[in-house]
Symmetry: C2
Subunit: 336 residues, 2 copies
């Protein structure tokens, strides 16, 4: 019998907590520890911190990264959306000869924004013989991997459009606040200017799709606008009067020599009537894919990260992306 | 500069002809020859046989398999749906140290129906250091690969349903005849009994999905019924009066200990009003994917086979399936 996959969870926020609960269901995985610097979590039982039903797990949350020295097979990393701030965390995981799956949106396809950091992570991973990937529902799946997979069915591609509409009313309060629900339009713009309101990952998806399909995108621009509530909206957590901001409306465009090749639109607001994901490939033939209701942001990200563990363990050493990995459900009874 | 991918087309029927026309658009590919035993084709220019616009190509169609001795990097194989009849053809390709992508439906996932043949092909491929795969739109993509890719977005899977509705009126005459359009119900059943009417590949898709998702399917049954025209249908090629057969209605079920885990339904008939592909994953969360209008059988199969060439060349030696390969569009200007 082969040994189990020894896993460490790095970051036990709401997503990290859900990640360990799902990992706990996989017979092939043994969670050997978790890292979180929050004093309210450090030293406590991981199962308890994660809100699991079968506590205690007998696994303490560690406040320091010394735990990485245990040399886990995989570190599941979920601490931040921005790559520069977590690069040292990732490098420490690699130096411990652990593969990494991270929810860091900017790691999903870092080659354009951070070419040096991407090269460094790739070189370090190769030098330690391990692989890392940033993934999740978006970036990592619905606006890029699924686009690339669908593209196998067409003979020619001229352009790509992706529309993702998320009803933030079905999400956590932090997500509802993060999209600006309840603000005035002026407040929204201030927060956007301060970098406090933004879904990270659209330019990463545009770049991944352009490179995968050879669409030659040489410029990517992104706009963030408020989505104004047309009528009063009430969620479990807050109320948005008509005329106030219901959420965020982001559009990223990838152009080649000034011609639009890739258009990606994300609407994430409370009260969205028709949530769903739509991918349109224009070419020969045209091909459209829809996910009515959409892929639930948190649930799908947690699924995708845990489901990616076997693929990243099997991948060649280096920095990988969702585009490289054959993504699939990770059966709970699968052998290690 | 790297050398081009040297390709041989094995079988120049309607699908083979379209395959070489698409391969011709790829700068990374050099078509070095084609094999077809039809005396009406052998000796003629491949471009002419394939109905290309830019004839002559200066590439003759060869009547014999001696051409395989040229040791192409890839043989694109399109001669039959049934594996036993083409096994020797495939083995000859492998012995020439060529990778193979085949449209043979039964090769897409041969492990249940032909375990010995599958093992032999896998062993031979490994001994020659090459890889082979059977793929196409169905089996190979819309009822299996896309199901597995979508499954990356869910945390638990209980069962899978796939419905594919194809309007045969938009397809070639041989396809319209193959689905029985215009027959009486009695004639249809006779032809089914004679093995003349059947779309091959549903059990292969059921098996691929069951194994990929660990759904434990221990029995697969398949039913083939006529789809009766409710009203007169007229296509470019034929007329079907109301009450006659419009096409085929096939259902494959995969059960585990008697419980249905996978249901796949294929309706392929002239006059289908709502063609499209629908995948439903039941689990946590449920996830539904639709391709309104559907993936065009011929166009998508041709795309998928040619688009799979880079992936099979990069794959480890042995018998591979769509489940193993990261499927994606093959850009025409891609480097070899």
């Amino acid at each position: 019998m082969r040994k189990k996959i020894r896993a460490i969870q790095y970051g036990v926020g709401p997503i990290g907590a859900a990640l360990v609960r799902l990992m706990r269901e996989k017979q092939a995985i043994e969670i050997i520890g978790a890292i979180d610097t929050d004093p309210a979590k450090a030293g406590r039982d991981l199962g308890e911190v994660a809100g699991a039903a079968d506590t205690p797990w007998g696994i303490p949350v560690s406040a320091t990264t010394d735990l990485l020295n245990e040399g886990a097979d995989i570190v599941v990393h979920s601490t931040s959306s921005l790559l520069p701030g977590v690069a040292d965390q990732l490098l420490a995981c690699l130096a411990a000869e652990s593969c990494v799956v991270s929810t860091c949106e900017e790691l999903a396809y870092p080659y354009r924004k951070y070419p040096q950091l991407a090269a460094q992570l790739d070189a370090e991973a190769k030098s330690w013989g391990v692989a890392l990937v940033g993934t999740g529902v978006n970036p990592g799946f619905v606006m890029d991997k699924l686009v690339l997979t669908l593209s196998a069915g067409v003979q020619r591609i001229d352009s790509v459009r992706v529309l993702r509409i998320v009803d933030a009313a079905e999400r956590r309060l932090p997500l509802q606040k993060k999209v600006g629900a309840g603000l005035s339009a002026a407040e929204f713009r201030e927060r956007v200017a301060a970098g406090e309101i933004k879904h990270h990952g659209l330019p990463e998806s545009v770049a991944m799709v352009s490179d995968g399909l050879d669409l030659g995108v040489d410029a990517i621009d992104e706009a963030i606008e408020p989505m104004i509530a047309a009528a009063d909206v009430r969620t479990e957590f807050l109320e948005v009067p008509a005329g106030q901001v219901a959420g965020v409306h982001q559009i990223a465009r990838g152009t080649a020599h000034g011609h639009e090749k890739i258009y990606m639109e994300l609407q994430m607001f409370v009260g969205a009537k028709l949530p769903g994901d739509t991918i349109e490939l224009r070419g020969a033939p045209n091909l459209t894919l829809t996910i009515p209701g959409g892929t639930h942001g948190d649930l799908a990200t947690i699924a995708i990260v845990v489901n990616s563990i076997p693929a990243i363990l099997a991948a060649p050493a280096g920095l990988r992306t969702s585009a490289d990995l054959p993504m699939c459900f990770f059966p709970p009874a699968a052998k290690p």
